[in-house]
């Protein structure tokens, strides 16, 4: 297992007497996507909120144990929680733009941390809007209220806003549950791209999403840690019966691949063009599997295919450098 970034040590939490987290100990690996899965009300979000201590906002909550991030205990009252929170971007369940313009939303974080110069702020806004693929859509209306954006755009704005304070960790609390499928896919693709530089923790009750994204999986049930391990271990060969039941309780799609194209070593836009040619030879409803190793292709090929009206079924990293993309022709 790779280096640990967040070490959760014997964490307990109580909501007005209700035992919400029971002796949770788990290590979250650096620069990977960790999915916290489990049914609703099992303590997933509570655990996430413990990591940046937003749990403090909840009335009548008590917690104990340790969460170590870069050697600092988040639960220690002496810890500078402001600094810890700055290290962790949060992507909430519902897109939550601040009541200000698109520009101000991104500039808000850097500003409260003391950045005042307009050119610097301009650069940050542009950089992070580009990073989440929103710049082209909004560059002409940066000063209009963020609430005018579509829900999917709002969520990407929220992601950019979180990234603008230069965190090391991104915490996502069911970030796509309020979004339409295309917007969800955008966000998922962003997260896959971002894990090169960030440690990502995603709470999800969507098991397919966990399968598409996760490198490491934590399964909670009624406040208990049932099982944790690499995605392969947990999904292919769960040790615990409860995990097996939870995973099998939901449908795992098995696709029959009609054609496979290996596009390793190609750059964009050739990846897209070759994939399109391959798809052209297929009949309607047939499935094409594309293997790519060019980073931009991971987001651009699915986006282009969606734009052409085809269905992107799965985008998954299969090894260190390669990704498979499943496309159904429409």
């Amino acid at each position: 297992m790779s280096e640990t970034h967040i070490q959760i040590d014997n964490v307990n939490a109580y909501y007005s007497g209700n035992h919400a987290l029971k002796n949770i100990s788990v290590q979250i690996p650096k620069k990977q996507i960790t999915a916290i899965i489990g049914p609703s009300g099992c303590g997933k979000s509570t655990l996430l909120k413990c990591m940046n201590r937003l749990i403090d906002l909840t009335d009548e909550i008590t917690y104990s144990g340790k969460i170590l991030i870069d050697g600092e205990n988040v639960f220690d009252k002496k810890t500078d929680i402001i600094n810890i929170r700055k290290k962790m971007g949060l992507l909430a369940q519902k897109p939550t733009p601040l009541p200000m313009s698109i520009y101000e939303n991104i500039a808000y974080g850097p500003r409260i941390h003391g950045l005042r110069k307009k050119p610097d702020l301009d650069n940050i806004v542009e950089k992070y809007l580009k990073l989440v693929g929103l710049w082209e859509e909004v560059k002409d209306r940066l000063n209009s209220p963020a609430s005018n954006l579509s829900i999917g755009q709002q969520q990407r704005l929220c992601l950019a806003r979180g990234l603008a304070v230069e965190p090391e960790i991104i915490l996502c609390d069911e970030p796509t549950s309020a979004l339409d499928p295309v917007s969800s896919q955008h966000i998922e693709q962003q997260l896959l791209k971002l894990k090169e530089d960030y440690t990502i923790v995603i709470v999800t009750h969507n098991i397919h999403q966990a399968m598409r994204l996760a490198d490491y999986v934590v399964h909670l049930y009624l406040g208990e840690l049932v099982e944790h391990g690499t995605a392969n271990e947990v999904f292919e060969n769960p040790k615990e019966e409860r995990t097996r039941a939870y995973i099998n309780g939901t449908f795992i799609p098995e696709y029959t691949i009609d054609t496979e194209v290996n596009l390793k070593g190609n750059e964009c836009p050739y990846n897209f063009i070759y994939a399109k040619q391959a798809l052209h030879k297929l009949g309607k409803g047939k499935i094409l599997k594309v293997i790519v190793d060019y980073p931009t292709a991971v987001t651009e090929v699915p986006r282009g295919m969606e734009a052409d009206g085809h269905n992107v079924l799965r985008v998954k990293q299969i090894n260190e450098s390669d990704w498979e993309i499943l496309i159904r022709k429409n």
Binding site: N52, L54, L57, D59, E60, I82, N83, R85, K86, M88, G89, L90, A92, K94, T96, L98, P99, M100, Y108, G109, I112, H113, C158, R161, G162, V165, L171
Partner: protein, 297 residues
């Protein structure tokens, strides 16, 4: 016809009638005041009524300016004192205080709203007026008429306005979504930065409405103000001067000296002005609050 259905029809009509009566009452008052005030409106030009400083009913001079200015001075002063204190305390209660403290303080503030206004007046006469006369005015080198005046009225009135501003602002702040606070805090903002840049920004229209509601309550308040404000019909020039607000004029003089021509009509005009202003303020505030509830703002 079935008796059950008959009962149902009668009871619904009865309730409708009661509702119509209650609503109609307001318009009847408005119309009644207008009819009774019309003699003076048709004899004295409106500009003279509003802008003349001379109030001598015996000579047929009805200038309302001293009363209008008296009302404005006292109300504005009360608002100036009340707004910062009640805003800070409602921010504290909704953002910082724990749930237990909040629950304990809420009924206390409601209680403050329930104290009869004459009791506030007494408290003003017994505590505020002597304090101004003996301590505050000498310290600032100001002249007062025994401590009675705008300052005493403003202080008493501001305390009467607290509960309304605190409770409405509290509601507005609590209606700001929890997620917004989480987002700001998660970016590393302090609590105060979050409140200042996000919560108050979102709550601004609602807070404005709360202040307007408080203001309109202060505008019409009679008894407590009348007891401490001095009641001298002269346009005031400092907060230590006495004043004579419109409600005090109505309460003090209506029913007396009715033999003087047009006097009665002038007093009813004062009532009409008061009602109109309070009505306009209330409508503005309610409109803003309704928009907030519907999520438009």
């Amino acid at each position: 016809m079935n008796l059950r259905i008959l009962k149902d029809k009668i009871s619904s009509r009865l309730m409708l009638a009661a509702t119509v009566f209650a609503c109609l009452l307001f318009f009847l008052i408005l119309i009644g005041l207008y009819i009774r005030a019309s003699p003076i409106l048709s004899t004295v030009p409106i500009t003279e009524l509003l802008f003349s400083e001379e109030w001598s009913p015996n000579a047929g001079k009805f200038g309302f300016l001293p009363f209008i200015m008296g009302t404005l001075w006292v109300t504005v002063l009360a608002t100036i004192i009340a707004v910062p204190i009640s805003l800070l305390s409602s921010i504290y209660l909704s953002e910082y205080a724990g749930v237990h403290l909040r629950e304990a303080v809420k009924p206390l503030i409601d209680l403050l709203a329930g104290i009869p206004s004459v009791v506030y007046g007494l408290w003003g006469v017994l505590a505020v007026v002597p304090f101004i006369k003996n301590t505050l005015a000498p310290a600032l080198g100001a002249e007062t008429i025994g401590g009675y005046g705008i300052l005493a009225g403003g202080i008493v009135l501001s305390i009467m306005v607290f509960p309304i501003i605190i409770s409405v602002t509290g509601e507005v702040l609590r209606s700001v979504s929890h997620d917004l606070r989480e987002v700001s805090l998660s970016l590393g903002a302090t609590k105060w930065q979050t409140i200042k840049h996000v919560v108050l920004r979102k709550a601004r229209p609602g807070i404005f409405a709360a202040i307007v509601l408080g203001f309109s309550r202060a505008f019409g308040e009679t008894m407590a103000v009348l007891m401490v404000v001095g009641n001298v019909p002269k346009v005031p020039s400092s907060v230590f001067d006495p004043a004579y607000p419109l409600p005090a004029l109505i309460a003090n003089t209506f029913g007396e000296m009715m033999s003087i021509p047009l006097y009665d009509s002038a007093i009813l005009l004062a009532a009409l002005m008061l009602l109109t202003v309070v009505l306009v303020f209330n409508i503005i505030a309610r409109m803003v609050l309704i928009k907030i509830e519907r999520g438009v703002i």
